[in-house]
């Protein structure tokens, strides 16, 4: 606050970060008022990749809306698929075969792994270290190949269907996934040795970008951002869906509230995702992957429906108002980084420019998901 008062006496200048800027990883624009190297006010400006998915939801039939889900968060698209599938299954009361649920969990967690891997590389790139990006992409490539073999696409997945999944997994996928987990597992301690314990990285992350748990609550921040502020909240545990209750995994929580805590949460989540995938592969039963009784014509009963899932960046929830026709009356997509970024303006006040950009990186932004 005193900084703001001081700055009114001194000369400030406005700096436009984005919409094309290496640190924003997409078309985000941040209007920054700076006092030397200090930020007086940083206001994110959204909408550069706004496509009005919510209106599309009102004009397309329930089935036609599927491809849109892959184009919101291009890094954890399968979790978004899961949200939509869950929403309609809740509305229509469709039972999903157990094998399909396990396939869903495996693919979602693989997707989360690759999202966190990409974030890891890109985040260190934000801090000026180029090399980890290449290592992370090397691993991520394996996941994309695995997912491509079952879903048919590498990024904008449209794999789930109401009452199951589009395609059964084959033995190649299962052995490939097991081999991949075996390969990735020793890599994570290596990343910690090479990157996390680096003195410069500690200097850049520890005690930088402090977000208290209460601030997270006021802004509705979720996911690793919330868990880095010491709140044990994960939709997979707190509002269990699919077969997550049958799987044994921990929710990593760090109480430091700084960028390092958010970094550590994501790194630990990768371990947990690997655990989930291994267990799910072991437990996966045989059987159909699509509900046989799933109705062909979808007309959910009138009313409001809500469904939340844990995407890689936090709570993704969908709310729809159905008027018992084959399209939605109103489709609302609540994307996690939209809320996570909304606290940036308050939290970045008085920060150094380089720290603010490191802080922004630690929020793990995906712009198309924010702009919808």
């Amino acid at each position: 606050m005193t900084l703001l008062a001081q700055s009114q006496l001194q000369e400030t200048f406005e700096l436009n970060i984005g919409p094309q800027h290496p640190a924003t990883h997409g078309v985000l624009r941040v209007k920054v008022i700076m006092d030397g190297e200090y930020i007086v006010k940083a206001e994110p400006v959204l909408g550069y990749i706004h496509r009005m998915h919510e209106k599309m939801g009102e004009n397309r039939t329930w089935n036609q809306f599927w491809p849109n889900l892959g184009r919101l968060d291009y890094l954890s698209a399968i979790a978004y698929n899961h949200g939509y599938a869950g929403l309609l299954e809740r509305a229509m009361g469709i039972e999903v075969p157990e094998r399909a649920e396990y396939i869903r969990v495996i693919t979602v967690e693989l997707n989360r792994l690759q999202s966190h891997l990409l974030w890891f590389g890109a985040f260190i790139l934000d801090l000026g270290g180029f090399t980890p990006l290449m290592y992370a992409f090397d691993e991520r490539e394996q996941i994309l190949d695995l997912l491509e073999s079952v879903t048919g696409s590498r990024l904008t997945y449209c794999y789930f269907r109401f009452g199951g999944v589009y395609n059964d997994v084959d033995d190649d996928f299962i052995t490939g996934t097991r081999a991949f987990i075996k390969r990735l597992r020793p890599q994570i301690p290596m990343y910690h040795d090479l990157v996390t314990k680096n003195v410069i990285l500690m200097e850049r992350l520890v005690d930088i970008g402090h977000i208290s748990a209460d601030m997270c609550r006021k802004y509705g921040a979720t996911g690793p951002v919330l868990r880095g502020s010491g709140v044990n909240f994960d939709i997979r545990k707190n509002e269990p869906y699919s077969v997550y209750p049958e799987l044994d995994f921990d929710v990593p929580v760090y109480h430091e509230c700084d960028s390092m805590a958010r970094y550590m949460v994501r790194m630990d989540e990768m371990e947990q995702s690997m655990r989930i995938i291994e267990q799910a592969l072991d437990k996966m039963p045989d059987g159909p992957v699509k509900a046989e009784k799933a109705p062909k014509i979808l007309k959910p009963p009138k009313g409001d429906y809500h469904f939340a899932v844990e995407a890689a960046r936090g709570t993704f929830s969908m709310r729809t108002v159905s008027d018992a026709t084959n399209t939605s009356y109103r489709m609302r997509l609540r994307s996690p980084t939209y809320s996570n970024l909304s606290l940036f303006e308050e939290a970045s006040r008085g920060m150094l420019l380089s720290d603010a950009l490191a802080f922004m990186g630690s929020l793990d932004l995906v712009i198309p998901e924010m702009d919808r």
Partner: protein
């Protein structure tokens, strides 16, 4: 807590809604339901079917009070959105609240305003995160959040003069 604010629990409507879900209601009753919008009050809903536990409809002037109550309970605002009920000539503003951490309890607070004069007080004083959600709802529906610090174009271009999520918006 909300009941103390003079909101009556709505028993009958529950049955009606549940009956409608089961599809056992005859077309006449369905039509009757469509004709008149819901009255204000509390509604306990089935989580397994709806995805939320408590459905509250309030007057626009009770919106801030409801946010304050839910804030003091330690809930977080998940999203704010609007629904355009063109037939009723009304906008519905829907607020989703939930706990982050702790028990699983989701509350939906909704209020209806006249389509001609869509004014509703802002809750961005209570929940900072509502700022962006309300700004977006203003932009896409034209619902005026009275007292909002920054009702400017957000997702859409600065020069657009339409509200795309209104039902009378022609594609």
């Amino acid at each position: 807590m909300l009941a103390s604010e003079g909101l009556p629990p709505q028993k009958e409507v529950v049955e009606e809604v549940q009956a409608a879900e089961e599809g056992e209601v005859d077309p006449k009753a369905k039509k009757k339901e469509e004709e008149k919008p819901r009255e204000n009050g509390l509604l306990e809903t089935d989580y397994a079917k709806r995805g939320f536990h408590l459905d509250v409809q309030v007057n626009p002037d009770q919106v801030v009070r409801s946010a304050e109550i839910l804030d003091s309970e330690g809930m977080t605002m998940e999203m704010v959105t609007g629904v355009d009920w063109l037939k009723d000539g009304q906008f519905e503003i829907v607020y989703d609240y939930s706990f982050t951490g702790g028990e699983l309890f989701r509350v939906v607070v909704r209020c209806r305003v006249d389509r001609e004069k869509p004014d509703v007080p802002t809750i961005s004083e209570v929940f900072g995160g509502a700022n962006w959600h309300e700004r977006e709802t203003w932009e896409l529906f034209g619902i005026n959040f009275v007292g909002h610090p920054q009702l400017e174009r957000f997702l859409l271009p600065d020069d657009c003069d339409y509200y795309p999520l209104r039902k009378d918006f022609k594609l």
